[in-house]
């Protein structure tokens, strides 16, 4: 059974069957990654462009590794060397790429909806690797895979996303995907960083990190972007750390085991204390490994139409 769409633009409206298929396929590729020879010939002869118009070394490396392990030909096209700096439009750029017979495009872009825009102007399969503060579906899939690995299921697991929800590309994809899979989802952060009417997505909102810790099984802690202070989203890092950071003392008070995820890169001792980041409760390095497997699953399912 193939996926119901030929693109992966986001997790909103992606059906449960598709998510299960993606996560189950990820398990197969996790096995591949444990082999001495971590390469399969699945996408031999296919050309994939990593169109990264915004810096994100981690995501690009993870995609590139996934692509190479599937034996695809890989072209990296990033903002620093791109002609977009010279005033060429995104449309011109992708038209040029398409003329070179591209099968798939992995796009990272600051503008929401740019992967959707690509589907209207080219024929290749499009994978969203983060579009502004909209979606980042492969990140959410790897988060969900990591949680499923630990709990055996997503059904009924309470995941609280902590931090800057408004400007995050990770939060929405996680909310959409987790809700579809029957998890309980909440968000926690200063009210200034939580977008209006988010409850309508079926999530609870907490402004008290201690309450979030009491109720959740998993905390997915987002990176606080330091420049947000400039527009008065919060008074200072010191105050943020004081009232919203996930620390060992706070976790202790919960008197139960809490699983910690973080999409990286971490601001150590800002949103997450170093001792928590490096503790057994933290699955951060599992996320990184699972990230490659999830991306292999996405590329494989879209690239082979299986």
């Amino acid at each position: 059974m193939p996926l119901s769409s030929r693109h992966l633009l986001g997790l909103e409206d992606v059906p449960k069957e598709d998510i299960n298929l993606l996560l189950d396929t990820t398990t197969n590729f996790r096995e591949v990654l444990e082999r001495p020879v971590k390469k399969v010939p699945t996408l031999q002869g296919q050309t994939i462009v990593n169109l990264f118009l915004e810096d994100s070394t981690r995501t690009r490396v993870s995609f590139e590794l996934a692509e190479r392990r599937l034996s695809a030909d890989v072209v990296n096209f990033s903002a620093s060397v791109s002609s977009l700096k010279k005033g060429e439009t995104l449309k011109d750029t992708v038209r040029n790429l398409e003329a070179m017979k591209i099968d798939m495009v992995v796009i990272r872009h600051a503008a929401q909806g740019s992967p959707h825009f690509l589907t209207k102007i080219m024929d290749a399969h499009i994978i969203n690797a983060g579009d502004g503060s909209h979606e980042h579906p492969t990140q959410a899939l790897l988060d969900m895979y990591t949680i499923r690995e630990k709990f055996g299921t997503l059904e009924g697991v309470h995941v609280c996303i902590v931090g800057d929800i408004s400007h995050s590309r990770v939060a929405l994809s996680n909310i959409f995907g987790l809700k579809t899979m029957g998890a309980t989802v909440s968000v926690c952060g200063p009210k200034t960083l939580i977008p209006k009417e988010i409850e309508k997505l079926g999530v609870n909102v907490f402004y008290d990190i201690n309450r979030a810790i009491r109720e959740a099984d998993v905390l997915n802690v987002l990176r606080i972007q330091l420049e947000r202070q400039d527009r008065a989203y919060f008074p200072s890092l010191r105050e943020y750390r004081e009232y919203f950071a996930v620390t060992k003392e706070r976790l202790k008070q919960a008197q139960k085991e809490i699983t910690i995820l973080h999409p990286g890169p971490i601001n150590r001792d800002v949103e997450l204390s170093a001792d928590v980041a490096d503790s057994d409760a933290s699955l951060i390095l599992h996320q990184v490994l699972n990230g490659v497997a999830v991306r292999m699953a996405v590329l494989y399912l879209l690239g082979t139409g299986k």
Partner: protein, 427 residues
């Protein structure tokens, strides 16, 4: 030239006229108006089959883009688009380059308008409130008015500074002229691209809250009450702003407002498509706001329907939503949308529709009223309320095609217009 319009239904709400009649036009003047006029020699005859003859429609909020942005629209293409859409007059906004902030630009636009399309469409420039629309020093309003400006606005940008707005209102009131405000409290809308609410949250888009409009309208009404000067809100889009105007009117303040067809038709749901033709400022709002626009039109709080016709070239809109310019073209879909959404749904009568497209904007701008009577100059819009058609942006006369209504099925359209001795038939 002689034109005989057979079997028209003349509706003129100013004097309560609603009669079936033929109209004989000779050299632009209504020579005869009665049933069964015989067609003489050299007379161009059109059988209207009961179509409505109304006083000429005016769109008081149009961006003609000339001078400065002729790749988007020119006075020639913009006025042709107006005629095709059923308008005999437009007001052009001053966000040109140079801005309409001195008499020579006003004169140039008026001269050019008389030269294109046989002078069919009257063009009334709106002067800037502040020099270069920078919101700092007042533009020379007396000089602008003398050259032919009919109102003042910094449209595209609000007059943010309260002191400037107060002085502008006071100064324009010497002329009994309106300040038209693009009501937006800019400190609340920085970087925003769509209405703030559930949809912006779902799309992760930077929000423009409705209160940015409400707060500016509230501030302005406070100023109006203090200085007793005429004030018109451009393109209202929020339930809050409509309510503020309603209560200002109840107090007897000289406050008026307009709404665009897209703000009484579409909601922010349309942005889910990431179609850049759903990006405009003010943004598409919620279902509740759309209902408030309809109620405001029905109860008379909203005086005028104006399009905010904002042409942008194809390439300018073929970009990421975030980077696309705000605005859509509106002249050629306005009447169709108004009939479909307002008249055929029973919200407005045909008379009220004519008031909002012709009578009220002329009153607000202090333009002479149009009379459809023997001996008068002919300035009419002919409407076919039941004409069913599909919008095809490719066929627009406007130089730009940036409309979210491509493919829309509408009921009601202008058959044509007559003005300044010229007839233009669009059907």
């Amino acid at each position: 030239m002689k034109i005989l319009l057979k079997h028209g239904r003349v509706i003129d709400p100013t004097n309560g006229t609603d009669t079936e009649s033929d109209v004989l036009i000779v050299d632009g003047i209504i020579e005869k108006m009665k049933p069964n006029i015989a067609a003489g020699k050299d007379v161009q005859v059109h059988d209207l089959n009961g179509m409505i003859i109304a006083p000429g429609f005016i769109d008081m909020h149009v961006h003609l883009r000339e001078p400065g942005f002729e790749h988007k629209e020119t006075i020639e293409t913009g006025t042709l688009s107006a005629a095709h859409g059923g308008f005999t007059a437009v007001c052009c906004m001053p966000n040109t380059n140079p801005a309409i902030d001195n008499a020579s630009v006003v004169r140039d636009i008026r001269t050019k308008a008389k030269q294109v399309n046989s002078g069919l469409v009257d063009v009334f420039p709106i002067g800037a409130v502040t020099k270069a629309r920078e919101g700092k020093e007042l533009a020379p309003m007396l000089e602008l008015a003398e050259a032919g400006a009919v109102a003042f606005s910094d449209d595209g940008a609000p007059v943010s500074d309260s002191e400037n707005m107060r002085r502008a209102l006071e100064y324009a009131s010497m002329l009994d002229m309106c300040i038209i405000q693009h009501a937006e409290e800019s400190s609340l809308t920085k970087g925003g691209v769509m209405n703030e609410g559930f949809i912006s949250t779902s799309l992760g888009m930077a929000p423009i809250p409705s209160i940015a409009e409400d707060i500016m309208v509230a501030r302005d009404i406070t100023l109006v009450e203090y200085v007793q000067a005429r004030y018109h809100v451009a393109h209202v889009s929020t339930a809050g702003a409509v309510e503020l105007v309603r209560s200002a009117k109840a107090k007897g303040l000289p406050v008026t407002c307009e709404v665009t067809p897209h703000h009484f038709t579409l909601t922010d749901e349309a942005v889910r498509s990431f179609d850049t033709n759903t990006k405009m400022n003010p943004p598409l709002r919620t279902r509740d706001d759309v209902e408030a626009m309809k109620e405001g039109l029905r109860d008379g709080t909203i005086d005028v329907i104006a399009t905010d016709h904002a042409p942008h070239s194809y390439d300018e809109k073929q970009v990421e939503f975030l980077y696309a310019p705000f605005g859509i073209v509106g002249l050629e879909t306005a009447i169709g949308l108004a009939f479909t959404e307002l008249v055929h749904t029973g919200i407005l009568s045909v008379e009220q529709l004519i008031e909002k497209f012709s009578i009220n904007p002329r009153k607000i701008l202090r333009l002479p009223s149009i009379k459809i009577a023997e001996g008068e100059k002919t300035n009419i819009t002919i409407l076919n309320p039941n004409y069913e058609w599909t919008v095809k942006t490719a066929n627009f006369k406007s130089k730009s095609k940036n409309s979210p209504f491509d493919g829309y099925k509408l009921k009601g359209k202008a058959w044509g217009v007559v003005n300044n001795g010229v007839i233009y038939i669009s059907l």
